[in-house]
């Protein structure tokens, strides 16, 4: 086919698209902004940059993509920005379950309903970690020791995923823990290594280096079944060797943190569909598998009704915990 005929074809396609907008897929016409609701270097930022890198490498989109960080106010800055950009399909917001949890417990100027959900792309697991030389071998021993009421549990941020899980452990294990909030999971891990805390509930990637370095070890994972085996982390153990918490008598079947992708509110279904499709393509690349493996996350893809259902269920659950703790804002 010659140049001219391609030109004619595309001209015809454009005309068709002009007359039948319902059938034509939307395509971006200018640069796209990826908004990470976290500072540079955090898990959410890494996801946004990994996706940008994959899209650029495989040329999945013609337009350039820039990543900006709006991590102020535990991510609220980015969501508020998304809300303010209603109708703009050139802003993609990367976040976590924060999008629906934060408005429950603090007076931030957005709710997840102000945004258009695109997908939940990866799930981070939670584990119960203690210092390497702690006397307890399993979650049962830990709970017995914690019955004194003197235990200090660290975590990232206040009234966020880590503290919610802490409160769930208190309830399931019938113990009382003092929760100390820090800025990030990495900071919490160092505090545990220094012996200033008794335990924390970090994600795998937040404490991987510390486990390998022999400063702390996981007791159990908050997941219905054990994690995939993968490569060994220490000389003898890998993620698959960590028992589930239920196995050890701490009855919390599942607790996960999804990494979520959003568009501002009031975008057209076409535009949302374009990004759902784009994220699916990203997920099919070997680079994505590599990213998931290196960050020890679980590969999932929830979109549409499934994603909605997930949010609703999680929201109910968090509401219950937050209500019991008296965190809900009016």
């Amino acid at each position: 086919m010659g140049r001219t005929s391609i030109f004619l074809l595309s001209a015809a396609a454009t005309m068709l698209a002009g007359t039948m907008p319902a059938l034509s897929a939307w395509q971006p016409q200018k640069p796209i902004e990826f908004v990470a609701t976290a500072g540079p270097g955090g898990g959410t930022d890494n996801l946004a940059r990994a996706v940008q890198n994959i899209i650029t490498k495989h040329k999945l989109v013609e337009q350039p993509i820039v990543v900006v960080n709006k991590g102020g106010g535990s991510g609220a800055e980015g969501y508020v920005y998304g809300k303010a950009s209603a109708g703009d399909p050139y802003k993609v917001i990367f976040g976590t379950s924060n999008a629906w949890q934060q408005p429950l417990v603090s007076k931030v100027a957005f709710n997840y309903t102000d945004l258009t959900p695109v997908a939940a792309m990866a799930q981070d697991e939670f584990l119960l970690w203690v210092k390497q030389d702690a006397p307890y071998k399993n979650a049962g021993d830990y709970l017995k020791a914690a019955a004194t009421g003197e235990f200090k549990m660290g975590g990232a941020q206040s009234k966020d995923t880590d503290e919610v899980l802490t409160r769930m452990i208190e309830k399931a294990g019938k113990v009382k823990l003092t929760y100390i909030p820090f800025k990030s999971g990495a900071e919490t891990a160092v505090q545990l290594a220094g012996g200033h805390l008794d335990s924390h509930v970090n994600n795998p990637s937040e404490s991987l280096g510390q486990w390998r370095g022999g400063t702390q070890r996981p007791l159990c994972v908050f997941s219905p079944k054990r994690l995939p085996q993968g490569a060994k982390v220490t000389a003898t153990e890998g993620w698959g060797d960590v028992p589930t918490c239920v196995e050890q008598g701490l009855d919390i079947k599942q607790y996960e943190q999804p990494r979520t992708v959003w568009l501002p509110g009031k975008v057209t279904p076409d535009q949302a569909a374009f990004y759902v499709d784009l994220m699916k393509k990203v997920q099919a690349t070997p680079e994505w598998k590599d990213y998931i493996e290196k960050t020890s996350q679980v590969d999932t893809f929830l979109t549409g009704a499934e994603f909605d259902k997930f949010i609703k269920e999680d929201l109910e659950h968090v509401k219950q915990v937050a209500g019991e703790q008296g965190w809900l804002v009016k």
Binding site: G41, R49, V67, Y179, V190, G209, T215
Partner: protein, 512 residues
């Protein structure tokens, strides 16, 4: 000397032609982002990060860390020439650097700053080389109570030793603390002091505050004082660059003291900003020419610059060995480490010897490359001071506006920056010190978090600040520094009942 052998091996990795080229490229890019408004090291490094994904980790980190050195040096340029600090840690450099440059000695100011910065960095790297394992252990001993004690020490050294009336210092600190409290509170998770402005949930960025306080504030004062073209007729003199560097050894006491403070604050998690302020405060007290600080004193430039770079360099160690990034730039680099497939943490030194020692060796070489390049550019930058005020003034406004906007592409930040400009002007006119205000904005919320975390741990008992030797020493040192001026004053009063009142007014003139 195991470490020495490892280091030599590291040099064999770092000193190869491709790596030297990467260093030069990185340093030049770094100087560029350091000098350009609003870009800064963290943004520069994140822009460059995707380019490194295909590289060997050690090449990638050499490129990124060289860029970091370049940006640190570049940031001092705007502090000295235009009174606009690009990084929190170069605020203290403006106190004497800017007056000296305005006095017609920009070449001397820049060369002194670069020379002492290089010395500080060198001491920092040597420390990392020989004490790596010990340093990592020290950092682990720091829990919330110890963190608070370190911040308290930084505040105390500055308040106790600053030249302004103590009550004005306290007022400035209080205003700074309230600004630092804006946004989401880590410990309670609730939103504070946003006054109904949704966007304020992100808090007040340091860059926005200092661009206004220093850049615009200074401009307003200059316009009012004498609205004429105050071009500085400095001759571009290459020899002055070397003369200024050659004079540095005369200030060896200040250099060594500042490097020691810098290393200490870099290893303990105080960080470069606290280090530079503390070093400046202490130099002001102990220098023979302390009373002239704020008017363009050489030691007023040496002290913060040396401490800043010593702390900045030694702070990379906790990042590698513990995985706590000491600064925004370090956080981006850590993100890079994960993507290259390395896990920062205690095992990095065992698993990835080539990477770690290649990086440490590149710090020696990279800093030498950086200082050589910046010293070469001094006359070019100094020439900027010859541009008449009527041209430079609008340029400074543009730099500040663009810089404030590009922090997070927000119009509100520009408005706030201009507001801070008025605050800065009022502070200058009323002889209130700006330094405690900035110090409180930068580390005020960290100090608050640490204090409240300690209170949670001890269930409200202040005993936690005297629970072990380390924290007790830090707190006692802090209290001593705080009370020192009071004690000295009382002693003077006791000896000479009628103290001349003129002294205080003379002091007020040099308030920074």
């Amino acid at each position: 000397m195991d470490n020495l052998g490892e280091l030599l091996h590291g040099f064999s990795i770092a000193v190869t032609v491709p790596h030297l080229v990467l260093m030069v490229v990185g340093v030049l890019l770094g100087i560029l982002v350091g000098v350009l408004p609003g870009l800064g090291a963290p943004n520069g490094v994140s822009l460059l990060l995707p380019l490194t994904f295909g590289m060997q980790p050690v090449s990638a980190i050499i490129l990124l860390s060289s860029m970091y050195w370049g940006a640190l040096f570049g940031g001092s340029v705007t502090s000295i020439l235009f009174n606009i600090p690009g990084e929190p840690s170069s605020v203290a450099t403006t106190f004497d650097g800017y007056p000296m440059a305005r006095d017609g000695r920009p070449t001397t100011a820049l060369a002194t700053a670069f020379g002492s910065a290089a010395f500080g960095a060198l001491v920092g790297v040597i420390l990392i080389t020989f004490l790596a394992s010990w340093v990592a252990q020290v950092a682990l001993a720091f829990g919330p109570a110890e963190y608070f004690a370190v911040y308290f020490l930084a505040f105390a050294s500055f308040v106790g030793m600053g030249g302004a009336a103590p009550i004005k210092t306290v007022v400035a600190l209080a205003i700074g603390f309230s600004i630092a409290a804006i946004g989401i509170d880590t410990v309670s998770g609730s939103v504070r002091l946003t006054m109904g402005v949704d966007e304020l949930v992100k808090g007040v960025s340091f860059v926005v505050a200092v661009m206004g306080l220093f850049g615009i504030g200074e401009l307003l004062v200059a316009v009012e004082e004498e609205f004429h073209a105050r071009a500085v007729s400095s001759k571009i003199d290459w020899r002055e660059v070397f003369r200024a560097v050659g004079r540095l050894p005369r200030h060896s006491v200040a250099l060594l003291r500042s490097a020691a403070i810098g290393c200490w604050m870099g290893i303990t998690p105080g960080g470069p900003t606290a280090a530079s302020f503390m070093s400046y405060g202490i130099a002001r007290r102990f220098s023979r020419r302390g009373r002239y600080f704020g008017t363009g004193e050489v030691e007023g430039i040496i002290s913060p610059e040396t401490a800043d770079h010593a702390a900045g360099t030694s702070a990379l160690l906790p990042m590698l060995s513990l995985g706590i990034p000491g600064s925004a730039t370090a956080a981006v680099m850590m993100g890079g480490l994960m993507i290259w497939g390395l896990n920062p943490g205690p095992m990095l030194f065992v698993d990835q010897k080539d990477f770690v020692w290649g990086l440490i060796a590149s710090m020696y070489v990279g800093n030498i490359v950086a200082v050589a390049l910046v010293l070469l550019t001094v006359p070019v930058f100094a020439a900027l001071m010859r541009i008449p005020f009527v041209v430079i003034a609008p340029l400074i406004v543009i730099i500040c506006v663009v810089g404030a906007y590009s922090v997070s592409n927000s119009y509100l930040d520009v408005v706030m920056m201009l507001g801070f400009g008025i605050v800065g002007y009022l502070f200058k006119k009323l002889f209130y010190p700006l330094a405690p205000l900035v110090l409180a904005i930068v580390i005020g919320d960290k100090a608050e978090d640490a204090f409240r975390q300690s209170m949670l741990m001890s269930k409200g008992s202040l005993g936690i600040f005297f629970a072990n030797k380390l924290v007790t020493c830090l707190i006692v040192a802090g209290v001593a520094l705080l009370l020192l001026p009071l004690v000295l004053q009382l002693a003077r009063l006791w000896r000479k009942p009628a103290a001349p009142a003129t002294e205080t007014t003379a002091q007020e003139k040099v308030i920074i």
